[in-house]
Every structure is written in structure tokens, then in C-alpha cells.
Amino acid sequence: MKIKSILAASACALALGAGSANAETFKWSFQGDVQSLDPHGLNETFTLGFLGNVYEGLTYYDKNLELQPGLAVSWENTGPTTWIFKLREGVKFHDGGDFNADDVIFSWKRTLTAGSDMKGYGSRMKDIKKIDDYTIEVETPAPNPILPRELVFYYMMDKEWSEKHGSVEATSPKAADSTATYAAQNANGTGPFILTERQPDVRSTFKRFDGYWKDIPTNVTEVNFTPISQGATRVAALISGELDLVYPVPVQDWNRLEEAEGVSPLTGPEARTIFLGMDQWRDELLYSNIKGKNPLKDKRVRAAMAHAIDLNAIDKKIMRGAAVPSGLLIAPQINGHDADFNKPYAYDPEKSKALLTEAGYPEGFELGMDCPNNRYVNDEKICQAVVGLLARVGIKVDLNAQPKSKYFAKVSPQNGNDTSFYLLGWTPSSMDVHNVLYNLMSSFDTEKNTGQFNYGRYSNPRIDEIASNVEKETDQAKRQKMVAEAFSILKEDVGYLPLHQQPLSWGVRDGVTLSQRADNVLDIRYVVIGK
């Protein structure tokens, strides 16, 4: 221990001595890499958060998740479905191009192209009209009071740059040949950091953009990002002083970081809910011994699964008590949370077995499960625990845990939602319940772009109706009543099996100050490296 910290200290001293007075390199690691640099390619919090240091949207979240002006200076609701956005003047892209209204319209159209994963956001706008170079008028299909919040992760690209490099259409990393396109491998945003080198799954480096339009607290001039998939290796790299920040830290290593010198764990509640989804649309399960029918279409079977999963045991043993077991798909931080529905399904294996027998599966059945192993805190271990818990009531689950790039490619609609049972985590980027109603609870519909992340294609027409009504409703009390109805229907239908809200779990080297956002996004604008 002592030798290690002396080594770490001398390594730090060396590192400090080597750098010149005003060059500050910030080195950090996550458990996986971003899958594409295309800002419209994948709607995943980590990818979008990572790219938020390079690209920007019209609006911006500060460190407290308060909405701030970004590339738009101001906005106002001029009619029930029209908005005027004043754009920021004098903003330059990294290649020197000017940011103006044409880029906004271009980016909006780009998010509606086939390869885009941001269609859900794109279709929240019916039309964008250019009034002058720095003013646009946005028309929404229905009144949408939270539109500015939905534009935070809706990044602006340069029209000229994209046209020059043949990247006018978004490319999905879920498609087979995604890495081939220019925009997936290069970046040209308006953000404070410029991509200087990119080796997928190995390293990405950035340098400070001198022409950034805003004064920001950070003193970082260079950023080195290295994905490290193994939790223990990541933590070791932090302790040895090789890195300034790692996340997620496996929850079992929090104590180790407390004890180690020169580093500390940085933890808190995350607004992300981890849940299980089930195939409720196929007539026959893909990976099962039951042929000719889909047991998961039977509500009793889904309820049996719900009662077989012991959320407290998962929290206590896998998450070391750091998670918050949940009965809802949204966290308490999210607007629209309703504590009345947050009570999880009771753990009751006897009831579960009885339900299975009633549904005609007294011996249980076989089921395939998909799980990422480098996306959420202890994701694969949670899946293993679920497999074990379901085995106790007779449901034999075959687990397929793989890196997130392969996992998302398999379960996403681009690949026909090739899954029967999967684990997913969700943070509504708008911090509002409507995002969840729209993306997870609504029926899958390619026309309306609803249910894009409803991989099991749970469907209830009443919820679809509520989802579109909630969007329009401006009266908070009425809105909450509708949300409550949707929650109770989902709960009654056992459409999803919520597990818990995972903790934010970062490890930081002492002397580095940063802000930890509840949506688990690292904003390097706030990173300050001290001596």
C-alpha cells in the first residue's frame, strides 16, 4: 500500500514535471468506447454525453441539469405550436465554418434520415423555417411545452462540412458498415474540444478549441480517453495515478478507493432506471423450447417473472446496497415521478410458481436473455442474478452477455428487435416522464417514431393515447393524473420489470475537481485540474 502510494506520488510528480506550466491533460476512462462519432447515430446517454464536449445543441444543461442557452440565445413560444429561436452569432465550427440557421435546418433533416437514432427527437418538430441567418421558427406537430429541454442532446452539425465529406445522412453504428462513413470517424462541432486522434476501442484524444464562444471553468487543454472494460483494471489504473477519472467504479470497490491514498470515490443517486423488457409481439419466442406460442404474451407469465425476481437481494449482493429498488421506469429526480407507484412487485416465488402453473407452464420454460456487459453498473452480474432467481421458479434462462456495441446491434429495431428478454437502462434526457412514455411505453411505430426503444414491443392503445395527450397538456395537475393512469396500466399489464436506480459511481484522483451530473454525463467544461 505504502509503496504503491509513493510510486503513485512520484508518477504524479514526474507527470507534473514533464508538462509545461499551462498544459493540463485530463485522462479518463469508461468501461466501453463510444460506438460512433456521428452525433445522430446512437441515442445512448454515454455516447451523447461524450460527444457533448465536441458538439452542442441549441440548449444546454449546466452542472445542476438546469436548462441554459446553448447555440440558441433565447427562445419564445409565439403560438401554441410555434417557437422562435434566436441563434448565437459568431459561433465557429472547429474547421472554421460559421454556425447559422442553415446548419440547424440541415441537422434537423439529418436526424430524420434512415440511419438516425434521433428520429424520436427529430419528429418532435414538424417544420423549421429560416427567418434570417440567426433566427428560426420551429413548428411542432402538437403543443410541446418542454421542447427546449428536448433539444439538449440534439446536436448541430455543419452543413458545408457534412456535404463536403459525404455525410449528409446519419449512420447508425447498429448497421454493419457504420464505421465506413466520414462523420462516424471524424467530428466537427462547435464545442470546447477538438478531436485530434481516434482509434476505436483504444484511444481518443482531444485538444482545447481556442475559438470556443463561451468562458468555461476548465483549465484542461488536452483530453485522453481510454476505454478499459475490466472493472478491476480500471480501478487499478486510477489508484496508480495513470488516470484522473474512471467510471463506473464497480460498487464493490468503493471501500478500496476510500482507503487508497490520492483517490476518492464520487457517488450519488443517478437518474437512470435499470429494467428488464420482454418480447410481447412475436407469436413464437425466438430462443425457447416452447414452440408455436409466446409465453411472454401471457400476462400471468410476466407477473410470475416479476414475483420471482428479488430486487432486495440484487441490491444487497450485486449492488452492495448502493442501488434503489424501483417499481417505476423513472427515477425520483424525473418530472412526473409518482411515489404511489414506486413499490416494486413483491418477491414471492410461491406465487410465481402458482402463476406459471395457472398459465400452463408448471415445469417452466426456456428463454434466451440479452445483456450488455460494459454499459451499466455491474450489468452482467445483475443478469446472472436474474438468471439464478428465475431458475428457482423453473424458468431456464440462457444468458447472452456481450459488449454494448454487439448488444445494441442485436436488440435494436434496426435488427428487428432480435431478443426475447433483455436488460436496459434509461435516463430520460429531457428529465421528463413524457420521454419515457414516448420511447419505452408507447407502441412501436415507425411512422410516428414512437416506441423506438420499446425493444419488446409492449403495446397498449390507452397508453399510446395518454402519451400523445401528455405531450400537449400544460396543466401540471391534469398531466400528472394522466401519467398516473399510464403507470397503473403498465403495472397492471406487467409491461416491464423495473429493477432499480443505479448509483453514480465515479473514481476521481485527488486534486481534480469536476461536477457529477445526475444523468451520469461527464462535462469536461467543469473539469479543473489542481496541483
Binding site: Q252, N255, R256, D310, A391
Partner: protein, 311 residues
């Protein structure tokens, strides 16, 4: 040979009067190694009966028993001698089942390598000429690659051409082929040099004169006379094969976690090194060390015992 048998001694009597047994009784190191090997092999073969739990019958695993320390520690439970992992599986039982996979892969790959290597060696030494040169150059090329690299290559190709479900089922076979293919050269080399010596002896010439086919001469007459060194190599390579399998599994390209070997267990436990749950990785590690060390000592002893110059 049995034509003069008035009273042929039984196998056991012959064994008990042999130099090998005499030597063994006077070598405490070999005796301890043989004892430990026997214990582990016995535990692995009869894991179903010896292991107190079946860690792979998920219906019997209780998540609430997860992360219990070994029985002698304050929070330990007597029913989990060496503690449990995060999912509540008994570490002692997983080691027994894990050694079984490790040993199956070890024995099978050594057997595969031996059959392949002996065949190549016999043909090469007996045929001579172009065939010999060709086979030995192939062996030379292979010798210049580290065994682990060849095993990784073969495993990588297998992963590339098979879908995941198939690969997981066939993982053990892929490992056996991968390790076997990287280990055959030593057998081929050794057998070939022995065959070169043997093929000019009178009994071989006698066989040729009476018109026996070449393969009968090779298999019936030459092979038994070159088996001594092969036995020694096989023993030492068993230890190497177990280590190679553990390395591959530790790197995540070996057997899947659903039927873990010792290497897989060490990899899984590695996640808990920092958090104080040392038993999840240390005990499988100790089991691996003991197994490999014992087999190695046995192999060393066997080499010395069979070497006439050292008597």
C-alpha cells in the same frame, strides 16, 4: 513373447518389482506430488458426489448466500467451506467442477497432440528423405511460434466462423484442438529421433524381410520401443496444457462462464481483488498452482526415473 510362459508374473507383481516402483518409494517429492494429483483428479472426476453443492444447478443457488467468506472467518457459514462468490455459488464446489473442465481439456489436448505428433514422428523417421524433410520443416516453423499464440489464433478463427451459441457448446473441443495443435511438435521430434535409431535394428530388418507391411512394423514393433520418452513428455505437457487452458480462459477466449474452468474462475474472481473478497480468486488460483506443480514434479521424476544414465 508368451511362448515360454511357464509362470508369467502378474502385472502387479511385475510393477512392484520394477525399478520404477523402487525409485518412486524412495522419492518423497514424487510421492507427495502423486498424492496431491490423485486428490485433485479424484475430486474432479467425482465432483458430482464430492462437491457439497452443485453450483451450476441455478435452482439451488441462493443469491442471499452471495459473498460469504470462508467458513473459518467470522461471517462464514459451515456449509460453504471456502466461501461463496457474488451469485452465491460455493467456491469449493466450483473449484472441483472447474478442475474437471481443466483436466478434461488437459488430458484430451495432450492425447490429441500425442496421437498427431507420434504419427508424424513415426512416418517422418521411418520414411526419411523428402517426407522427413518436409514434415520436420513444418515442425520447425511451428516451433518458432509460442504455443499460446497458436492456440489464440485457432480459437480466434473458430470464433469467427461459428455463431456464438455453437461456439459456446463447442468451446471445449475448440480448446482441445487449439492446444493440441500447438503441442504436437515435441512428440514428433522425439519420436522421429527414436525411430531413426530403431529402424536399423535387426528386429525391424527381420520384419521387413518376412514381408510385414510397414504400418505393422511401425505400430507393433517400433512404437512400443519409443514410448518411454513420449510418456515423459505427455506428463510434463499435461501441466503445460492445463496452464495454457487457464491462460486462454483468463483472457476470456476459453470456456464460457457457464461451465467455468479454473482459469475462468480466476478471471471472474479478479473483479473482487480490490474489494476484499479475496477467496473468490485466490482459492481457484491455489488449486491451479497445486495441480500444475504436482503434475510437473511427477513428470520430472518420471524423466529421471526412466533415464538409464541417471541410475
Amino acid at each position: 513373447m508368451s511362448d515360454i510362459s511357464s509362470e508369467a508374473p502378474s502385472f502387479i507383481t511385475r510393477f512392484r518389482e520394477s525399478d520404477l516402483w523402487y525409485n518412486f518409494k524412495r522419492s518423497p517429492g514424487a510421492m507427495i506430488a502423486a498424492f496431491l494429483t490423485f486428490i485433485i483428479v479424484f475430486g474432479a472426476v467425482f465432483a458430482n458426489f464430492v462437491a457439497p453443492h452443485n453450483p451450476f444447478d441455478l435452482a439451488t443457488v441462493d443469491l442471499f448466500d452471495g459473498l460469504l467468506p470462508p467458513a473459518w472467518e467470522a461471517d462464514g457459514k459451515a456449509s460453504y467451506l471456502l466461501g461463496t462468490d457474488d451469485q452465491g455459488r460455493d467456491v469449493f464446489s466450483t473449484i472441483l467442477y472447474g478442475s474437471r473442465i481443466s483436466l478434461i481439456v488437459g488430458f484430451a489436448s495432450v492425447g490429441f497432440a500425442a496421437v498427431l505428433g507420434i504419427t508424424v514422428g513415426l512416418i517422418s523417421g521411418y520414411a526419411g528423405g523428402m517426407v522427413d524433410s518436409f514434415l520436420m520443416r513444418v515442425a520447425d516453423v511451428q516451433l518458432s511460434f509460442p504455443a499460446i499464440l497458436i492456440a489464440l489464433l485457432i480459437d480466434g478463427i473458430a470464433r469467427g466462423i461459428m455463431p456464438r451459441e455453437v461456439h459456446d457448446e463447442l468451446a471445449v473441443y475448440v480448446l482441445v484442438v487449439a492446444i493440441g495443435l500447438s503441442f504436437w511438435v515435441q512428440y514428433a521430434r522425439t519420436v522421429r529421433s527414436s525411430v531413426l535409431v530403431e529402424r536399423n535394428k535387426e528386429y525391424v530388418q527381420a520384419g521387413q524381410v518376412i514381408g510385414l507391411p510397414d504400418w505393422i512394423i511401425l505400430v507393433r514393433h517400433i512404437l512400443p520401443n519409443v514410448m518411454g520418452p513420449v510418456l515423459v513428455i505427455a506428463t510434463i505437457q499435461l501441466a503445460l496444457a492445463v496452464i495454457t487452458e487457464a491462460t486462454l480462459s483468463f483472457l476470456g477466449v476459453g470456456v464460457p462462464p457457464t461451465s467455468p474452468s479454473l482459469g475462468t474462475l480466476i478471471r471472474i474472481g479478479n473483479d473482487y481483488l480490490f474489494s476484499g473478497e479475496w477467496w473468490i480468486t485466490i482459492f481457484p488460483g491455489v488449486a491451479l498452482v497445486v495441480l500444475v506443480l504436482s503434475v510437473n514434479i511427477l513428470g520430472d521424476w518420471l524423466r529421471d526415473a526412466l533415464n538409464p544414465k541417471l541410475r
